[in-house]
């Protein structure tokens, strides 16, 4: 029977190979495999990195980031701010066209902003846009945003794909977010088969004003196919067979791949990703800062990430990661609870826990990126000092809900979670820890005041000091215990014939420069 199956499959394989060859002869697309699918093509309806990365290819943004993560002009050739910091005026480049051929101008920007603030159906990231009260078309190439209060994080936000500019021809278009997504980015949407793949075609009219790519025109390759391959080993196999050009490899195989030179490994820098412990602070045991500190002292992040990610990831000392404004490892290391199991045991003993009475807590972790493995290591580390943590794996969306639910619940056993956030600005701390707090977690009036200050200070040095003051509170009280950066979807294995692939800050892969050498 085996023999017969063999012959059959070989025949089938031969038949299919013929089919594939003829398809390949027509055009060579870049094939990029990821572990999951996007939620939507509508940038106002999701927050996942997978979605963001895709939007960044289809849509363009007013501003862009340089390689250090600083905002630079893009579609907006320049911008001005009034002295009060409440009016931002952007001047657009002339001649930008949308995928449907219509010009991209101030009305499209206004359309996008208004849509994000639509009362009936606002953007899920409305809060991050800041206190915008209106968007005004001054002339076809000039648009003015008016804010209620100053908001310094608006500029970096407009460099991020959360602020993707949607062409107003999307208005009323059938199936926006599903079958239609008209932008002005380097790639045009051809089709999206849910759960399977997104097919993009080169936007021939594209001009790169500020994005991190050497190529100032349209991408070199004809098309880009983003496929879904959940299993890391399967992605690797597909990379090896050439079915896929670029994909996240299994972490444990990275060293081997590097050594063999079989595939190139690209590690994204300045991802802005921050992985940290946070706690349900409104009830025992984590309402006592000593319990939180004990967790901090029990955690050996360096050892853990070394075990799971090798040298691919770095321990992070600050609540915002490297490449984000205010980050300073030395400053943070002073404040944070460092690995010291003895100290952890002592703190636990103070609280009345001991070998016979472990501190019990749930440990919420979201799926993917080998975090379940990492969590297992942390679980073992905590067990060493007498903390019994039950890992609960869940989707990130679920975890967000759970964390908030835990914070709003007064009863039950302890809860801590391995939270992750990626942001281009320390303003994220405002979202997280300013009352009421994204998860209804730790807040105090003092911290609120300190966070408010970080939003309005326009002088970089003053703002830096204010930000680091916030770090101090968060770290010393064990509210936000940073673990490592980068944290997810930042390692890419690339087939050797693929040239020019790189990743912009905040994990935006750039395909504009990609060329695939003919075999």
């Amino acid at each position: 029977m085996t023999i017969r199956t063999g012959r059959l499959t070989r025949t089938l394989a031969a038949v299919a190979a013929i089919g594939l060859c003829s398809a390949a002869a027509e055009a060579r697309d870049i094939v990029w495999a990821r572990y999951g699918d996007i939620d939507t093509l509508d940038p106002h309806k999701a927050t996942s990195t997978l979605s963001l990365q895709t939007w960044s290819l289809i849509f363009d943004t007013l501003l862009a980031t340089d390689k250090d993560g600083n905002p630079v002009p893009n579609m907006a050739e320049s911008w001005t701010v009034n002295d009060a910091g409440t009016e931002y005026t952007f001047k657009l480049h002339d001649g930008i066209t949308c995928h449907d051929g219509s010009p991209l101008d101030a009305t499209d920007v206004k359309y996008t902003v208004d849509r994000a603030f639509d009362d009936a159906d606002p953007s899920v990231t409305k809060a991050s846009w800041g206190p915008i009260t209106s968007a005004e078309v001054v002339d076809p190439l000039t648009v003015k945003l008016t804010l209620e209060t100053p908001f310094v994080a608006l500029v970096p936000f407009l460099a991020d794909s959360f602020s993707s500019i949607l062409c107003d021809s999307n208005e009323g278009a059938e199936g926006f977010g599903t079958t239609t997504a008209i932008g002005s980015g380097p790639w045009k949407l051809v089709s999206w088969t849910k759960g399977d793949k997104i097919t993009l075609a080169r936007n021939d009219d594209y001009t790169n004003f500020g994005k991190l790519a050497e190529n100032k025109g349209a991408p070199y390759m004809d098309g880009l196919v983003i496929t879904v391959v959940p299993e890391p080993q399967t992605r690797l196999a597909a990379l090896k067979t050439g079915e896929v050009d670029i994909a996240e490899p299994p972490f444990d195989d990275v060293a081997m791949l590097k050594d063999s030179g079989e595939l190139d490994i690209v590690v994204a820098e300045n991802t802005g990703q921050n992985v940290f412990w946070e706690f349900a602070v409104h009830r025992p045991p984590f309402n006592d800062k000593r319990a939180r500190q004990a967790v901090g002292h029990a955690t050996d992040a360096a050892a853990a990430i070394n075990l799971i990610y090798g040298d691919l990831s770095l321990p992070e000392a600050c609540p915002v990661s490297r490449g984000v404004f205010g980050n300073d490892q030395d400053v943070c290391l002073e404040y944070r609870t460092n690995y010291d199991p003895e100290k952890a045991r002592a703190l636990l003993a103070e609280l009345g826990y001991g070998p016979d009475k472990p501190l019990e807590t749930a440990m919420l972790v979201w799926t993917g990126g080998n975090r379940q493995k990492l969590a297992e290591v942390f679980q073992a580390q905590l067990a060493e000092v007498g903390i019994k943590a039950d890992i609960e794996m869940m989707d990130i969306g679920t975890m967000n809900a759970r964390v908030r639910q835990e914070n709003e619940t007064a009863e039950g056993k302890g809860s801590m979670d391995m939270m992750t956030w990626s942001w281009y600005d320390p303003d994220i701390l405002y979202a997280l820890w300013h009352s009421p707090g994204a998860y209804r977690g730790y807040t105090t009036p003092e911290l609120d005041a300190m966070l408010e200050k970080t939003r309005v200070l326009t002088d970089p040095d003053e703002r830096k000091a204010a930000v680091q003051a916030v770090f101090k509170v968060l770290l010393e009280d064990g509210i936000h215990i940073p673990l490592y950066t980068p944290g997810w979807e930042w390692v890419f294995a690339v087939r050797p014939e693929v040239e020019g692939f790189h990743v912009a800050p905040f994990v935006y892969p750039v395909f504009n420069d990609v060329k695939i050498a003919e075999d």
Partner: protein
């Protein structure tokens, strides 16, 4: 999740009379299938019971050895990605496996027998409602019911056991029902009614003991299905959570290393397969011993 339930409940309700029990077990143990099944089950129970004695390390402590060490003298089955001893984890895993099987089958069996017995005994509307309901659930297949239960309850080992238990109810209820229906139509049952016996006596002294042999066969086969189903859920991440050494979860975790350490995937898979095979063969042998039509004797 393989459904053994694909086999129709068509057991012959030939009963092993009390006096022949010893002979019966000899018949089970002396067939090659039965002997293998029995051996697997005994080894499983022994390893679950004696796990603390026969394992050299802790099943959850990391770094008791180097990582990814292939099977060798010191670590019989090698070590995993955290430097834990795989042999120890497999042995402790047998404990979980037995527990999962026992609890899940316990739930299915108890509820299934009650539903089946009551439906067969009461007849009329009770029967229609219970058995049509069972049919509806049955057409959903165990996998879907288990999945729906986990969707509601959330992923955890406990919930997976409950889910698999609930998912099995329709099959057990159906089997019990058809067995009870056969018994119910036998003259001895009518004679007992005619003797004036009440419902409890009829249900629990006459009906239950007579369907029990059938249900034991079903439960033995069902154990394997339950173990497989729970391992499947754990494999999908919907069952056991770390650091539990549950075989399905171990297998799932080992997927990331199949280039580097294929034994991490092969061994838990074999453990599941052999265990399930053991229960299947044992169940089959018991059924053959009960059903004179099956064997060549």
């Amino acid at each position: 999740m393989a459904e053994l339930s694909g086999a129709v409940p068509d057991y012959d309700h030939e009963i092993v009379p009390p006096g022949r029990r010893a002979h019966f077990w000899r018949r089970v143990a002396f067939t090659p299938n039965g002997a293998f099944g029995l051996a697997v089950v005994i080894v499983l129970i022994a390893s679950a019971g004696l796990a603390d004695l026969i394992t050299p390390y802790s099943p959850i402590k990391m770094g008791v050895g180097p990582r990814f060490l292939p099977p060798n003298g010191a670590y019989l089955l090698g070590t995993d990605e955290f430097g834990r001893d795989l042999f120890t984890r497999i042995v402790y895993g047998s404990r979980l496996t037995l527990m999962i099987g026992a609890i899940a089958v316990g739930i299915s069996l108890t509820v299934g027998i009650l539903v089946g017995l009551i439906a067969a005994y009461r007849g009329g509307w009770t029967e229609t409602i219970l058995m049509r309901g069972t049919d509806v659930l049955f057409s959903f297949t165990e996998t879907l019911i288990a999945l729906a239960c986990v969707a509601v309850l959330g992923p955890s080992l406990k919930n997976a056991m409950i889910a698999v238990g609930i998912a099995g109810i329709p099959f057990y209820a159906r089997t019990c029902y058809s067995a009870a229906l056969v018994e119910r139509s036998k003259p001895y049952f009518e004679a007992t009614i005619a003797a004036g016996a009440g419902p409890l006596r009829l249900l629990f002294l006459h009906l239950l003991p007579n369907v029990l042999p059938t249900m034991i066969v079903v439960a033995t086969l069902g154990l394997s299905a339950a173990i497989l189903a729970a391992a499947g859920l754990s494999f999908l991440g919907l069952g056991a959570q770390p650091p539990d050494p549950e075989w399905g979860a171990m297998l799932s975790g080992a997927r990331d290393y199949f280039n580097r350490a294929p034994y991490l995937m092969v061994i838990p898979g074999l453990a599941i397969a052999v265990t399930v095979l053991g229960f299947n063969l044992l169940g089959d042998a018991i059924r053959t011993a009960l059903d004179p039509r099956e064997g060549s004797e």
